[in-house]
Symmetry: D2
Subunit: 364 residues, 4 copies
């Protein structure tokens, strides 16, 4: 099966392993005439770059994106855009018992079960580095969406037990965990210090709010906008839950409280609340789309863990090297990218929803 | 766009509106040689039938499934299986202000925005009756999965504030809300009585546990098994959150607690816990798959609600007729069906994962 | 695998066997707001109805199409359109040695090889009756295309050795073989009489010319418009060759003769010839699209034929009953329908080809 | 739309323009455990390399394929295989009136119509160099097919008026036009000399014969094996016709002559002729698959041609530089590659055709 492609109209294919020669992505279905330069992509990639703080790995990953096709004289041509990022450090080294042990919380065991063997250097295809391609493509999707007025605000909402208490969007880039609340961010940092000291790691949550979405995106049945957002975000390695709008809180609510009533505000039909998270019946309703992703703790921890080898021998595994005590801050831009990809697909799909649209397009 | 098809290898297409002539589903890609009769489908449909208790609508829906193709002499032929359910009561009647008002929590407004007008009789395509086709197809998927030892246990885990406290699978069919805890079910019933009295409705949660899943189903990147389960379940109308394994609780956990360690138990590599919910790196690991869906309260409530008409006039809407005070019990089999569809697709996809499999199949 | 679906944006799924309860098609992705009634579909179905002449089977097939969903108050709603045609005569009868023999030129042998057994009543899924669903869907596609000025002229160009010599479109509906040349049609009729006398059958060719196609439909690489037309038409049972423009004659030509030169005719860029058949680099160029399909002779002939049974016994098979001595006339509307489906898909796909289009659609 | 991807189970995505930085292909869905090295790919690429004879362009194209992912320790891992070929000579140069003129027989005009502008350096995406990716992927597909006993014999059957008279497979690599008839090849060479002298070009035909194909590949309706082969081959730039088996000759034939009768030969059910070309009802029947492609003459000829500029000015265009007087010999491996891709997709798809297969796979 071919599971490395996402999207129908705006379609991306990622490739590459964490310790191979390079990683990349091919973006197909990008409309012609979009102004695009490598810097557009680089600015997104930089948001997931390691080594930005004490809470992200100190490995040096330059991650310079090179556009190899699909752009001519600064504009997309309609042809597929191929983006390449070379892996800088591929020295063959001794992977020791990593080559034969199954790391808890990782995909080592399932890869062996599915494929009969695996590329044991780093995480192979299930490494977080695979998201490089998603983010490079997400940068392009976000630029397309921006042209029709769609904007993203994505941030860390909690790390372990520390939740944001206030919402100051200007705080997001000011703290190393991308919280819209510098005070909560300071508490999160203290909590992460403690995790490091205990040779442990932490999970957290990410919220993505999307504004300026026109009503009408998404389809009524299997291609609901929320269903596609859920798949897009759940396909990110460490995500264990996706909520739309009130999410799990809706289950404990009543219809009278959960229904968003409509009003006419200055001649505009408007929902007075947004428990639905901007989507009704799978179709965007014009209010902000709100999505929340729950991220599991980094599985690579430095304290010894019980596990088994490929041949079933029980052993204690110690994972050396520096690993992020929390994935969440670097995953913020990945969540945003996946949402941008899902939305762009819906944006193009919707253009033939009515005969009036089709006739107007061709009879102009 | 064509959003009424689900699946790549085992592909279903549903059609029909709540108040049209009929509803149905076409199942394509079903292997030849499966014993199948209408009763297999009917027994699944009966699980979502209304009128089974005080907490589900008393509308009469016979919902007799007719198989029109794809089965010959009691066995599937490999051809598409078309299943039809006639709508029994299609008297044209006065829809009153439902034809012009936007019901809060429903898709009326977004359909008008997307398509320019809508079929205002019942919910049209976004009606819960659309799930008839999903359940009919799910019955077939479940029968295929059963042939390789995969079993489902799906139940209501909470209704409003009432959560199950114990797990007795034998209780599930014994109470009208399909909880594996008759005592909690009684409390849920009391809560629903209260909702009815208050002209209100309640949400709840559904859990689906799948056992006997072989390791190796699902793909590493965008076609992760959890991503496809999330899309499948989130595409059900009222679902607002999907969690895999520990779900949102993983966000507050630590790596040392959340990692499932491996042991060798009687010569078999085994996870000692299952925080991951049976999926690692998007691939099934052989332990039970656990998924939780959060369902919003029924949006149709009988108390008057503020809303607007198509032309923007503010009005108070009263929805007459009997509506389920809770969707959850009837949605249990829908969640199970969607999970079965996602798994069947992964089951077939996985068959060409290795050259050894391909060569063994053709060089036999 | 699921091979009963065609199209990505305008997607149809056919189902049903020749001797089952019914046949049908689900059309998904039809824009909302198209005026549609059963008569639109019936008029297409009538073009493939048997019993219209001595050269088509005298079986009675009423073939009344019923629209079950997707249309409300005379207009499509954007929901899937389900169309059903009941098979009228399903008496169980004695299929004699047809149940165990492999008819030459039919799919009996390959179905048994693939699926392990087969529905031996008529051709099952490989019967010509399967095309009912294609034609019903083609009627809708043609109506959509018509709204943007695209018109079809499809006709029989040869039957056996008899080729048309002149082109009078008004002749097409005037003769039983749908040739645009009544004189040639008379010769073809005489030839078919001879075939009937010899208990034999004949092949022939069909030409489809499509005018009013805007430049820009189709994509440069794998989704070339000609590639999709070729697949669409080759998927019709008896088609053995598909040619675009000059087709096989291009192979014997020279560049200087085969290149269509451009001129400016009254301010309009125009090709002075159309060897290319209206498609350059996979994209429509605004001139008429010309496609030719070669149809094999009806495999069911009444003279005895050597063959084998399922168990390998050699036998002489006599196929009783009346069969068309030529498939071509009834296949004319099938070829037109498949071309209409391929074009409609390309029509919708093209709407997001440029950022200007996308921005104009959403920023209006 | 995203037209650069081919295949469902074995899926390739090509990217790159003739005069960009590089071209490449991503192959997804390749089973794990296939022995693969760059030389496997290079040997296929060499068959389409220019400069091998007087009849192919003398441009230097080293075309060294680099595998960037998906292979570990000499074996495929199941992850996507990314293959890159750098364009060696990308000096910016003066494209003169090529930048503004529409070359007859090329896609310049249609690209401008579709995308609003174009990359005018070489053919961009519609260049023959795009086929590099197809051939690299085809090499892998052919290696997979070879593991189950499927073999290809692909050759030039005609160039202009010169057709092969005999069939000596050993001749194919011995002459520059890849004909299985050295005598015909000499005549073809003389004919091409004449074309060069006249500043003209020639078309021709390519035949692909595939042996060892197991019965059962392909599906009955839209995913017929012949339909997919037709699309695959028609998607190659210069192909104007695709024939299966007797192809256009079937149209002039009779059922009694065209039907392939079955016999029992030494206990094996065998077709005594192969007019059908190895496919019945869209499913392979175990006899050789025979396909013929008609290729148009190279549109780039050195004699002056009438055309127009983007702004509609009429002009005479002279295309400088050396161009192949015939595309056919270099297209032989492209046709073979596309057939291999279509077959590999059908090979994997077929593995879940019966419940017996599915149960045997998982219950082993």
């Amino acid at each position: 099966m071919s599971g490395s492609t996402y999207g129908n109209y705006f379609r991306i294919t990622t490739w590459g392993e964490s310790h191979g020669k390079a990683l990349g992505v091919v973006i197909d279905g990008c409309p012609a005439g979009l102004h695009l330069e490598e810097q557009d992509i680089q600015s997104f990639l930089n948001r997931r770059r390691p080594g930005q703080s004490r809470y992200t790995t100190s490995r040096k990953e330059g991650d310079q994106a090179e556009i190899l096709s699909g752009v001519f004289e600064g504009k997309t041509t309609g042809a597929p855009i191929s983006i390449l990022v070379r892996n800088e450090d591929q020295r063959s080294r001794d992977y020791g018992n990593l080559a034969v042990c199954y790391r808890p919380g990782h995909a080592d065991y399932t890869f062996d079960q599915k494929y009969g063997f695996r590329d044991y250097r780093g995480g192979g295809r299930s490494s977080g580095r695979e998201t490089l391609g998603r983010v490079a493509a997400g940068a392009i999707a976000a630029k397309i969406l921006s042209a029709v007025g769609i904007r993203f605000c994505t941030y860390t909402a909690s790390i372990g037990p520390v939740h944001i208490q206030e919402f100051h969007p200007e705080d997001i880039p000011q703290n190393p965990v991308f919280m819209p609340d510098n005070a909560a961010a300071a508490k999160a940092a203290a909590y992460l210090e403690d995790c490091i000291k205990k040779q442990d790691s932490s999970g957290g949550t990410i919220v993505c709010e999307i504004t300026g979405v026109p009503a009408g995106l998404g389809d009524p049945v299997f291609e609901k906008l929320d269903a596609n957002l859920a798949k897009a975000v759940m396909s990110i390695g460490a995500v264990k839950a996706v909520e739309i709008g009130d999410g799990i809180r809706a289950a404990a609510s009543n219809g009278s409280a959960n229904n968003d009533r409509f009003r006419n505000i200055n001649g505009r039909i408007t929902k007075m609340t947004n428990h639905a998270g901007g989507i009704l019946g799978g179709i965007s309703d014009g209010s902000p789309i709100c999505l929340r992703a729950s991220i599991k703790p980094t599985p690579s921890i430095s304290r010894p863990q019980e596990t088994v080898t490929q041949t079933g021998e029980e052993t204690a595994l110690t994972i050396n090297g520096r690993h992020d005590p929390v994935i969440v801050p670097r995953a913020v831009v990945v969540v945003e990218s996946m949402c941008a990809l899902a939305l762009t697909d819906a944006l193009f799909s919707n253009m033939s929803a009515t005969m009036d649209s089709v006739a107007a397009f061709y009879n102009k």
